[in-house]
């Protein structure tokens, strides 16, 4: 079938997964469903010990077997040791046909590509896929199509029962022996454990892996003992230098600063820039600069931010400290300052990814957002955004919260350079649609700014704003004028990846790369 954004989704895929094609951002509004439930092993005997001596013992006690689904979080980013550590043990035990259901997978997980080749891993369900895993997927090595979901979409799939986790492994900077785990403390401090909270509630077996055992009770706990089966202490759960940036540097790149300035102006001149507004931005050069540029305007107009959300960094924490931001709700810490803030400031809260963005619960922070600033690998003239496949057709990115907050917010702004090297960012048709165009409002590039024609209210609001506005088609033409019209990427028919919309409908598919062309 051809779905609402004109992407062809093979009928056999829809049939096989019992899915529908994407039909609009609010298609499933008010749909009622019964939540999934895990199998629970009651810990009745007060003398029962949850400590296991190693990962092998944890796997054995959880009765690991072929075909299971194992889940992981990515709070340790490129410094993560947990996924590889667990999978090495799984491989050593001769277990096969595992599905990894991770909140994201990155370059730290290159060894998994080998397990894909060997048939030990046959399914990947993740937000991000990078490095060798992405290459293995795009080259058709994974037995089943990888399912790419947003952060909100992933927890929706878990809560609705689309995916059932057999064993959740939760790397935790600190835990007590009874499984109360926290994101703060220890030597591998990551601030929060937001990505794991839903896993802990919905998995049949939950194993906390830590390198810092602390006295009971480790409170307030991010992951509660009520959900944890076993606790395993290892030497190191990650490389602290790669888990967190000491300080994210402010960009001096004039191009990024120029785009940040445009973006700041757009926010300040919009009807939503009022006291109590809410905001999410990433840690990229331009979006981080918007934080800093917005501050003097807020001070001048006596406007306070109601809440800031997302991947949290120093500039927002400083605004919290100085009273310009009322609350921070945090699903991921990006730097040392954000960890210090969540430890010490009572207005800085840890939230679960379900609270953050699951579209099928009864309300999320994403729905209460005014402004979001996002990036893009590609944007097409229908405003569809690709953040997953590269210009070579290989899976190498992550939707993260992109589709969630684009859909939830009142004004979603994409910042991206018009061209990258010889690759046009603005194009006729994105290789892979990850965030549907009807949820994307403004595209800011270094060459000009396009407002989605659906947003007549924003176009009206900016009629006295002097910025280089143009149409998305003009941006595409400029990009093509500079780098030429790109050739189509040659793909085979076989589907190797499914891009699931946050509500569970199918937005697009990724096909196997045809490298003989």
């Amino acid at each position: 079938m051809i779905n609402k954004i004109g992407r062809e989704i093979p009928d056999e895929i829809l049939k096989q997964y019992g899915k529908e094609g994407y039909q609009g951002p609010n298609y499933r509004d008010n749909v009622r469903y019964k939540k999934a439930a895990p199998m629970v092993r009651g810990v009745v005997d007060p003398k029962q010990d949850k400590m296991v001596s190693n990962i092998r013992e944890a796997l054995e006690k959880c009765k690991i077997q072929d075909g299971m689904v194992l889940s992981f979080h990515h709070h340790f980013r490129d410094g993560d040791y947990v996924v590889n550590m667990v999978m090495a043990e799984v491989a050593a035990m001769g277990i096969r046909d595992i599905t990894i259901c991770a909140s994201s997978l990155g370059a730290a997980h290159d060894p998994i590509a080998e397990y894909i080749e060997q048939g030990i891993v046959t399914g990947i369900q993740s937000s991000g896929v990078r490095g060798k895993i992405g290459e293995a997927i795009s080259r058709g090595k994974l037995k089943t199509p990888a399912i790419i979901r947003s952060h909100g979409g992933r927890v929706r799939a878990i809560e609705e029962g689309d995916v059932h986790i057999d064993i959740a492994f939760i790397g935790a900077p600190t835990s007590d022996a009874y499984g109360n785990a926290r994101g703060v403390g220890g030597k591998s401090d990551c601030g929060v454990l937001s990505y794991s909270m839903v896993d802990a509630q919905y998995a049949d077996n939950v194993v906390v892996i830590t390198d810092c055992l602390v006295p009971f009770p480790n409170f307030p706990a991010s992951i509660s003992m009520t959900n944890v089966d076993y606790v395993c202490v290892v030497d190191e759960i990650g490389n602290p230098d790669k888990i967190i940036s000491n300080a994210i540097r402010m960009t001096k790149d004039v191009r990024e600063l120029m785009m940040a300035k445009y973006c700041t102006r757009l926010i300040a001149d919009s009807p939503y820039f009022q006291d109590g507004f809410s905001f999410q931005t990433g840690a990229g050069g331009a979006s981080l600069a918007v934080n800093t540029m917005l501050r003097p305007i807020m001070e001048e107009k006596n406007i306070h931010m109601g809440f800031s959300i997302g991947g949290i960094t120093q500039p927002i924490c400083e605004m919290l400290k100085d009273g310009l931001v009322r609350n921070i709700v945090d699903a991921q810490c990006f730097d040392r300052a954000s960890i210090e803030s969540i430890k010490n400031d009572a207005r800085h809260f840890e939230i679960s990814t379900s609270e953050y963005a699951n579209p099928m619960n009864k309300g999320t922070f994403a729905n209460k957002l005014d402004f979001v600033i996002l990036g893009a690998l590609e944007v097409d003239i229908d405003y569809n955004v690709n953040v997953v496949t590269g210009s070579d057709g290989i899976v190498r990115g992550a939707p993260g919260g992109h589709p969630d907050i684009a859909a939830g917010s009142k004004c979603s702004i994409i910042i991206a350079p018009l061209v990258r090297g010889r690759i046009p960012t603005i194009c006729d048709r994105v290789v892979t649609a990850v965030t549907p165009g009807e949820t994307v409002d403004i595209i800011v590039t270094d060459y000009g700014i396009a407002i989605n024609p659906r947003r007549t209210d924003l176009i009206e609001a900016y009629k006295n704003t002097h910025l280089p506005f143009c149409t998305i088609e003009e941006l595409r033409d400029m990009a093509y004028e500079i780098v030429g019209t790109p050739d189509e990427i040659p793909f085979k028919d076989r589907v190797v990846g499914i891009i699931e919309n946050r509500d569970g409908t199918i937005l697009d598919v990724v096909r196997e790369l045809d490298e003989e062309c």
Binding site: V254, R255, Y447
Partner: protein
């Protein structure tokens, strides 16, 4: 007939190294009035030919969207300048900035070669404009003769680094060492009715001092400034663009003087200020500047 672009708005003239294709591919996005594609000091001595090659293709292939394309050629004391001129003209540069100009004769020499190149490459004669960088005490002392040297000459620019070396001093940050040259040059330029630009400011971490300097040179009468970084553009444009209040006042003056002149009245009051014909030229200049900057749309 005067070249239509001779008096165009040139508040900001930003240097870019021709040796770096990434820099020269799209500087127009920053909104500078002119770019100066540099073949001179920024380019290593053994890279002059490759820089010229990049320059030629940039001029030929890139749509600079109305931004003036000035090329800084190498000085007449180098082996490069003749080929620089041929490449500039063949590529269709709008203007050539003559480095190390010391006299009217220097401009004449360049003019002669430009004309020959225009004939060689079939470009309209007189289409290539010139500007002169004064980089020595002798050049500064000869400012007026340089300003009057050619119909192609749009103006003169101070090059503070070389000038202060020749003056046997250094750039101090106070501006005292440049005071004489600035004053002399801007007076000469105004006398000859050409434009005048101030030297670059290289301390990118001190935007406050930069702004102070821009305000000072605006007050001295300069038309704009040579720049080394896009971050400097906004401040220059802000300082050199008339404010809303100035535009409204200038608009009133022009309208009133036109009207009163018809009624035979010479002196009158506008917003509590005594106005006569002496204000007319300044007011018209303010409106022209505002119009060129895109913030005034009337047809006065």
């Amino acid at each position: 007939m005067m070249h239509p672009n001779k008096k165009r708005l040139r508040r900001s003239m930003m240097f870019l190294n021709c040796q770096k294709p990434g820099l020269i591919k799209d500087p127009y996005i920053y909104g500078t009035d002119s770019i100066i594609l540099d073949l001179e000091d920024a380019v290593a001595e053994n890279q002059k030919d490759s820089a010229r090659y990049s320059l030629y293709h940039a001029l030929k292939e890139i749509n600079y969207r109305g931004v003036e394309r000035v090329v800084r050629m190498n000085g007449l004391d180098t082996p490069h300048w003749k080929e620089d001129i041929r490449v500039c003209v063949a590529g269709g540069a709008d203007t050539i900035r003559i480095a190390k100009t010391e006299s009217a004769q220097d401009v004449h020499v360049v003019e002669e070669h430009v004309l020959a190149a225009e004939r060689e490459f079939g470009r309209p004669e007189g289409s290539t404009l010139l500007m002169a960088a004064l980089e020595s005490c002798r050049g500064v002392m000869n400012a007026l003769e340089v300003c009057n040297s050619s119909d192609r000459l749009i103006g003169i620019a101070l090059s503070g680094g070389d000038y202060t070396r020749d003056l046997q001093t250094v750039i101090s940050g106070t501006g005292v060492e440049l005071q004489g040259a600035r004053q002399q040059m801007v007076i000469a330029a105004r006398a000859a009715k050409v434009q005048c630009w101030d030297t670059v400011f290289t301390d990118l971490d001190n935007m406050e001092a930069f702004e102070k300097e821009v305000r000072m040179i605006k007050m001295m009468g300069f038309d704009g400034k040579s720049l080394v970084n896009p971050r400097q553009i906004e401040i220059v444009h802000e300082v050199f663009t008339p404010t809303k209040k100035e535009i409204i006042f200038a608009d009133k003056i022009v309208r009133e003087i036109d009207e009163k002149k018809a009624q035979g009245i010479g002196v009158f009051m506008v917003d509590g200020k005594m106005i006569d014909i002496a204000f007319y030229e300044g007011a018209v200049r303010t409106l022209k500047l505002a119009k060129a900057a895109g913030i005034y749309e009337e047809d006065l």
